[in-house]
């Protein structure tokens, strides 16, 4: 064994470039794979862990108070399939009257519950304590991440009937069972409208399991008594949808990386075997068994592969952690343990070297078969009829001889050429796909936020947070903002919780002012923007969740009169969003100033306006107006965009290195031929021209084939990513291909090949020709 080790070590030393290329390629593809698998694996893990910790409810059911008694509801817990339960708890919806804290959006689903613990839905009280007596309320809120606004204890929630409840704690439920909790006694005073029951089932891994569990538990209850149910899988999907968007494309990156790595390793080894015929012969004549010879070659690639893999795994894990953290920021989940699972790097550490050795084994077996005599005499490479026929035809053509020789070279080693072609092709596919992806992700990030386009957001101060109360009312504020120097457009936006008949409640946004100045049009997947008070625009997530379509009519209600509206546009968003015209508020008979809703003024200033001076001017107009620059970009999107740029560069580098390596091998093998050509009077420029021509041809074909593959991959993957994120991507976001970009990408294949060919060719011509000719 030590002889094999020694021979392998010296082989590695003699092939520094190839060794470095193998190590780098394996490093980059391992890192990519680890990132992709890490995200895939972790996308739902924080939820699972937090859910398990809280013993989250597999299903939450609401029963009609008038149709079933508490005993009947309790009896459902004893049905088969139900493993644990909590409840029944009384439940009601509480509207917020003036005097309530302003940060709560609107009608709260309040549940009467004696304790945070229990056997199901152990609510996590992260600030303050649980409600122990009437007059106290605990609010469901995700803990703020660093930089988020604080949530004060002691604030009031005032009901329309005048009941004052004091916030004594903030708690968080993974199962989303309530917006707030009070004691059961207090609940009685609030007039409950439904009974809540939570279940954990013995089997609940699929939607069907959950549905079956609910069915079994509630079988035999009076018809219509089950008002609503909610499965934990819906919440889980919702939580994972953030990072979920990016998993499909990361997988594509990873798979491309692995394929590129395998191609290159196979290429390197077959090159080493072919150019090492004499070396093999010498080893065999020294008494190495065929198996030992193969061992030498496998060891030769394993050394750099293992090193590259180890570094890649570490790098991948290090890159994944911050990504995961930013992906789950603000979901209220404990992020301290959100790390890549141990099996991801372990799988990479075992899998990648295995793959590398497999890729190396086939060409290495050639060394196994080669007889010592054959190898030592290093007979000329075997010839293939068609390749030689092409050479002959090219030799007779009127092309300059250096060009026709160059065009013939790829046919002399068809297998090597095929591998090079695939390397270039994948390089171009990767570059194309990644470029498209980066554009789409970028557009998506830009359009995903309706405040984009506005440079400033102005909000009235909130005295309960120590801010100054505004002097100006809403219309005055708009007027003042419009009068300021530099103002180009002002849009006013108020968030109002709206009930929708026979459907989930939603926080709708009512707009007025220069709505055309906002970027809404970028988000429209289908339909057209709102043109009147009878129309609404909804996010695709909103429509999907409610099974609605464009043209459908809804009935909205905000405590006053109901109003029928028509959905005229679907907007690309993962969030539950409904946009309406400001005038719809009067149709709904709502006095928005009486609601506990906060106004927001989105201001666009003319180019060249000094933002700091403008902000000062706003404060001078009314110290109670708080203006802040709109830097509302998601860190996760930003990191994914930069990650995709990094991955693109990485894979293009790897593909370039692969081609470079192939050309170096080809050129080395042909050292004597090139020297002979120089002795015949071929100029260095002709030699370089010939070598570059041979690879440019391969590069051109790789580019022409790789381009459509990249576009197809983009077309196929982006909708899958959209599906994972619960958004329909507007066609515009998939149409990121323009002629100049495509041309550039097509040229990329040739460029990679030509660059990979140029440098080794040039170094050949600089090498002492005489030296190369000496060799036998």
């Amino acid at each position: 064994m030590s002889a094999v080790w020694k021979a392998a070590r010296s082989a590695v030393r003699r092939r520094r470039l190839q060794t470095v290329v193998i190590a780098l390629v394996v490093l980059l593809s391992t890192a990519t794979m680890v990132i992709a698998m890490g995200l895939l694996d972790s996308a739902s893990r924080p939820f699972d862990r937090a859910f398990d910790k809280q013993r989250g409810a597999h299903a939450v059911a609401a029963f009609d108070l008038d149709k079933v008694s508490a005993d009947q509801v309790s009896a459902t817990a004893r049905r088969s399939g139900v493993e644990a339960h909590a409840g029944p708890f009384d439940q009601t919806s509480v509207s917020l009257a003036p005097g309530s804290v302003s940060f709560l959006p609107g009608p709260l689903t309040v549940v009467g519950r004696g304790e945070a613990g229990g056997s199901v839905d152990r609510v996590h009280v992260w600030n303050g304590r649980w409600a122990t007596k009437p007059g106290e309320i605990v609010v469901n809120q995700t803990p703020p991440f660093s930089g988020g606004a604080p949530f004060p204890l002691g604030g009031k929630v005032v009901t329309p009937q005048g009941t004052k409840l004091t916030i004594v704690g903030y708690a968080y439920t993974m199962s989303r069972t309530a917006d707030a909790w009070v004691t059961p006694e207090q609940m009685k005073a609030l007039h409950p409208t439904a009974r809540q029951m939570m279940y954990r089932f013995s089997s609940a891994s699929t939607e069907a399991d959950v549905a079956q569990g609910i069915g079994q538990a509630t079988a035999g209850l009076p018809k219509g008594s089950l008002v609503a149910t909610q499965s934990y899988l819906t919440i889980k999907k919702d939580v994972a949808s953030g990072p979920g968007v990016y998993v499909p494309f990361l997988m594509v990156f990873g798979v491309l990386g692995v394929i590129v790595a395998v191609m290159i390793v196979a290429n390197v080894i077959s090159g080493a075997v072919v150019s090492g015929f004499r070396h093999i012969g010498v080893l065999k004549s020294l008494g190495f068994t065929p198996r030992q010879v193969v061992g030498v070659y496998l060891l030769m690639v394993s050394l750099p592969a293992v090193l590259g893999c180890a570094l890649g795994a570490v790098g991948g894990v290090l890159a994944t952690d911050p990504l995961l953290t930013s992906a789950f920021q603000g979901t209220g989940m404990d992020l301290s343990g959100v790390a890549v699972s141990w099996w991801v790097p372990v799988a990479a550490l075992v899998g990648m070297p295995l793959l590398v050795v497999l890729a190396a084994a086939l060409p290495a077996l050639r060394a196994h078969r080669l007889s010592a005599a054959e190898a030592i005499s290093a007979g000329s490479a075997p010839h293939r009829g068609r390749a030689l026929w092409i050479q002959r035809r090219l030799g007779g053509s009127s092309l300059p001889r250096s060009v026709s020789l160059g065009l013939g070279l790829p046919f002399a080693r068809p297998a090597r050429t095929a591998m090079t072609l695939v390397a270039v092709l994948l390089g171009v596919t990767t570059a194309t796909f990644a470029t498209g992806l980066a554009s789409t992700v970028n557009e998506f990030g830009k359009a995903g936020d309706h405040t984009s386009g506005a440079q400033l957001i102005v909000q009235p101060g909130q005295p309960q947070f120590g801010e100054t109360a505004p002097k100006l009312d809403d219309p005055q504020t708009e007027k003042v903002l419009r009068s300021l120097k530099g103002t180009e457009s002002v849009t006013v936006d108020v968030h109002v919780p709206v009930s929708i008949t026979s459907s989930k409640k939603v926080v709708a946004e009512f707009w007025r002012g220069d709505t055309s100045a906002r970027d809404f049009r970028d988000q429209i997947v289908k339909g057209h923007w709102i043109e009147g008070p009878g129309q609404v625009a909804a996010s695709t997530a909103f429509l999907r969740d409610r099974g609605l379509q464009i043209g459908d009519r809804l009935t909205m209600e905000v405590g006053g009169k109901p109003a029928r509206v028509t959905v005229v546009a679907s907007l690309m968003s993962q969030r539950d969003l409904l946009y309406a015209d400001w005038r719809a508020l009067s149709a709904l008979d709502v006095d928005v100033t009486k609601l506990n809703s906060r106004f927001q003024y989105l201001v666009q200033v003319s180019p060249g306006t000094n933002i700091a001076q403008y902000t000062d001017a706003v404060r001078a107009a009314d110290p109670g107006l708080y203006a802040r620059p709109n830097s509302d970009s998601s860190t996760f999107e930003a990191s994914v965009i930069s990650l995709s740029v990094v991955l693109t560069l990485m894979l293009v580098t790897v593909a370039g290195l692969g081609v470079f390596n192939t050309v170096v091998l080809n050129t080395r093998e042909r050292r004597r031929d090139l020297a002979t050509l120089q002795s015949l009077g071929m100029t260095p420029r002709q030699v370089i021209g010939m070598t570059v021509t041979s690879m440019a041809a391969v590069g051109a074909i790789g580019g022409v084939l790789g381009l459509p593959l990249g576009v197809l991959a983009h077309r196929a993957i982006m909708p899958i990513a959209g599906e994972a994120a619960k958004v329909d991507l507007p066609a515009r976001m998939l149409d990121v291909w323009h002629a100049p970009v495509l041309l550039l990408l097509g040229l990329a294949g040739i460029t990679i090949a030509v660059l990979g060919a140029f440098f080794p060719a040039r170094s050949t011509t600089r090498m002492a020709t005489a030296e190369a000719l000496r060799s036998e």
Binding site: G379, S380, A381, H383, A387, L388, Q391, R392, G395, G396, S397, S398, R401, L405, G408, L409, A412, R672, D673, A675, T676, L677, Q678, S679, L680, G681, M682, T683, P684, R685, Q686, T765, A768, T769, A770, L773, R774, E776
Partner: protein
């Protein structure tokens, strides 16, 4: 043809040529002249600098010191491209291990040299075929080097060297890799070429080759010319 040749035009002039490879000295102040029509044989023990001398003359390598003139052109004054163009026009080379291109037929190996000077493919193949015919390997024109015998390969290599009618034919141990009979044939070939006026510089280990082919014998030792003598050719 004997020493009368010395009155004819000088083809090659070396003046104090020295070549060092790091610490070792391959050529140590070599001065010599070769005139049109001469056949100079260079002999000497292995490693004494014979191949180095040929490579210098062919412009494949540059001397550390000294000058090399071919047909009055100073090789030291030429760049790489200039040297390549010079080789194309003036020099033909034959090697011990043939150095044929494996991917080209015998015919195309020969024609290639012509095509490099701008001759059309048809013209080059026509002349290549004539040369192969003269050298007795025309029947193997469509075969690949791997399928030819050593002697046949070397004859193809000689044909290739002659393709552009070089003013100087360089041969580095042309019979070194051949069996006795093939060696004889190549020897006769070179002799015949010299007889019809081809200037020749041949490196050899084989005294018989020198005796039969050369008009002058130069013996090297440790990078220096140790002896020189004019030969009466035996054949």
């Amino acid at each position: 043809m004997t020493s009368e040749n010395s009155s004819e035009r000088v083809v090659v002039r070396l003046d104090g040529v020295r070549k060092e490879y790091g610490q070792s000295v391959a050529l140590d102040g070599v001065s010599m002249e070769i005139r049109t029509g001469e056949a100079v044989a260079v002999m000497g023990p292995s490693g004494c600098g014979k191949s180095t001398l040929l490579n210098m003359v062919a412009g494949l390598d540059r001397p550390t010191a000294g000058t090399i003139n071919i047909h009055g052109d100073d090789l030291g004054g030429m760049n790489e491209t200039g040297l390549a163009l010079f080789r194309r026009r003036r020099i033909g080379m034959v090697f011990q291990f043939f150095n044929l291109l494996d991917d080209l037929t015998a015919l195309d190996n020969v024609a290639l040299a012509g095509q490099l000077t701008g001759t059309s493919a048809r013209q080059a193949r026509k002349r290549a075929l004539e040369l192969l015919d003269e050298l007795g390997v025309a029947d193997r024109r469509n075969d690949y080097p791997a399928t030819l015998s050593g002697g046949q390969r070397q004859r193809v290599a000689v044909a290739r060297a002659l393709m552009n009618k070089p003013s100087l034919l360089l041969a580095d141990e042309p019979t070194g890799a051949l069996d006795r009979q093939s060696g004889e044939q190549v020897m006769n070939l070179l002799l015949d070429l010299n007889r019809i006026g081809q200037t020749l510089l041949v490196v050899t280990h084989d005294p018989r080759l020198a005796e039969r082919c050369a008009t002058r014998l130069v013996e090297f030792e440790d990078g220096r010319i140790a002896r020189e003598k004019v030969l009466e050719r035996t054949a």
